[in-house]
Amino acid sequence: MSAPVLEAEDLGVRLYPSAGAVHAVNGVSWSLRPGRTLAIVGESGSGKTVMSLAPLGLLPPGVSSDVTGSLKFEGRELVGTPDEERARVRGAGIGFIFQDPLSSFNPMRRVGSQVDEPALIHEGLSRRAARERAVELLSMVGLSDARRRIDMYPHELSGGMRQRAMIAMALAASPKVIIADEPTTALDATVQAQILELLMELRERLGMALLLITHDIGVVAGMADDVAVMYAGRIVEHGPARAVLKHPDHPYTRGLLASVPPPDALPGTRFRGLPGTPPDLMAVTAGCPFRERCAYAIEPCATRRPPLEPVTVSRDQRSACHVHPLVVEHDQPAEVAP
């Protein structure tokens, strides 16, 4: 098996908002190999975005943070590395796609000059060669009439076209990894389908690895090889996407999946979901952070935080739960828990 291109080990991020500190990410480990897609799934406040951006120095200005643990790109440590060096590694090796293409472009500059900027900086191309590269990149991402559109301003493109242009920008320096943070959340369904198709095709063709941050289980089902489910700053379940989505072990994963209306739902029937609200990270408590919303909770859940450990009945699947409902159901198929 090839070496991981991006690897996190015991990664932690503390954020310092106006008052106090928030342990937004805690002890997170995963690895991403070339050509693979790892989806990080979670709801707001789960830490999925902070985990992916903070170690790379990409939190918005003004947000002060403290990163511990390790994040390595092709074996090179990024945590604690001076900004300038980190920017070099990032610029040459990692491309980014964000949720909102409009706010990711400079509204005052033409699209083409922004798309070719990484190539200009990291590959040392001449201005003319960079312009040709921009046309080539925009054509590659399916932007029709690219030669004319490179001279447009971002607001002159539709949402879908802007997202294509942002993907082109992410590809400009021929990165090994693309980090896509909710890449299709702001798009309409039919445009989302186009963009996901494009991402899959590019990954195939260019052999890139994809770190896909999303809340959309359907996107995970279609795209991901592996999935890590985050809750309250920690990974609560991790494994091959098919195993986790078909046979989730962690009660949170189960609740999250149950929240998605199934295709065979009957109109007018009540929705299944999770009770309560996501935890407040400012108020750290002992035990399992999910226990108050959990239908399976037992006594130790209040005092002891469950470690992320192998789910014995499913290969490569790990879950942070004292109960392990999947194992219980496997051992006692008649007594299905709630």
Partner: protein
């Protein structure tokens, strides 16, 4: 007597666009909502669904058409009669963050409409506010809290409670759960289903999440570029869409089952939505339609019975059949 029969008749809403003429956001739309019915309205951004919602609650003035509530035309009424009837159709906003005043407590927010309706007794108002909170599943002590102390899901419950203050027959919900976390959406959807079951409140439910709409609604209407292209019973439309746009929209939505998701075919639409300022001739979907023909450019299809509902297409069902063949042959 069942109250709350809402009929939208040939509704058209236009906006002037500086230097470019007129934008027709809603074009000759007719819909009927039976008392207690939940009718889903789906479509992509810019299709006019929010404008339609705003027109129904009186926030946009239609260029043409009528909005009838139990026979009374809301667009024609004036004065106190208008205010009285308007109360019976209430809007629930998408974003509970910006639609609640941060300066008011939850109790004050809920009491405001009661005061406007003439409930002058302070004690009675507070009691009614507590009752409204209970209807949406919040404890009554939330009345003293400010919106900032609530989660997104709790704020949306308050938004619904406020809409219920005037005892409406119909709620117009514009993307009420889109801003909420997936695990919290179900709770809010159940509040709406319970209100229908307990009070008979009908709902015009606008959303882009088709899975959600399918489970919540009795019927679904699909909007494209200002007009309804298909309407039908929820399950029938979800399983067997007749219009090629409905088919594309449904095939575009990813499903959570990895085996199903990876084995099915999609209709990937190309091109861009036509401009509502300069509509194409004939069918307005034909510029992106995979099965469009010359006839579609010459002759605009009207809504006609197709399958279990109606579709505005010269070739209803054809796209669905082609897609099924593609999936079958892999």
């Amino acid at each position: 007597m069942s109250a709350g029969h809402l009929v939208i008749e040939s509704l058209t809403v236009k906006f002037p666009v500086q230097g470019k003429g007129t934008l027709t956001a809603v074009d000759d739309v007719s819909l009927a909502l039976a008392p207690g019915e939940i009718l889903g309205l789906v479509g992509e951004s810019g299709c006019g669904k929010s404008t339609l919602a705003r027109a129904v609650v009186g926030l946009e003035r239609p260029a043409q058409g009528r909005i009838l509530l139990d026979g009374d035309d809301l667009t024609q009424l004036k004065g106190s009669r208008r205010r009285q009837l308007r109360r019976r159709v209430q809007l629930v906003f998408q974003d509970p963050e910006s639609s609640l005043s941060p300066r008011l407590t939850i109790g004050q927010t809920l009491q405001e409409p009661l005061q406007i309706m003439g409930m002058s007794d302070r004690v009675a108002r507070a009691a009614r506010a507590a009752e409204l909170l209970e209807m949406v599943g919040l404890p009554s002590h939330f009345a003293s809290r400010s919106p900032g102390a609530l989660s997104g899901g709790q704020r949306q419950r308050v938004g619904i409670a406020r809409a219920l203050a005037s005892e409406p027959d119909v709620l117009v919900c514009d993307e009420p759960v889109s801003a909420l976390d997936v695990s919290v959406r179900a709770q809010i959807m159940n509040v709406l289903l319970d209100l229908r079951a307990d009070l008979g409140v009908g709902c015009l439910f606008i959303a882009h999440d088709l899975g959600l709409v399918h489970q919540a609604c009795d019927r679904i209407a699909v909007m494209y570029l200002g007009s309804i292209v298909e309407i039908g019973p929820s399950d029938a439309l979800y399983r067997a869409p007749e219009h090629p746009y409905s088919t594309a929209l449904l095939s575009a939505v990813p499903v959570a089952d990895p085996d199903l998701e990876r084995s099915r075919s999609r209709v990937i639409l190309t091109g861009e939505v036509a401009s509502p300022i300069d509509l194409p001739s004939g069918c307005r979907f034909r510029t992106r339609c995979p099965i469009g023909q010359q006839r579609c450019a010459d002759d605009a299809p009207s809504l006609r019975p197709a399958g279990a509902g109606s579709a505005a297409c010269h070739f209803p069902g054809q796209m669905r059949v082609e897609l099924a063949q593609q999936t079958a042959t892999g």
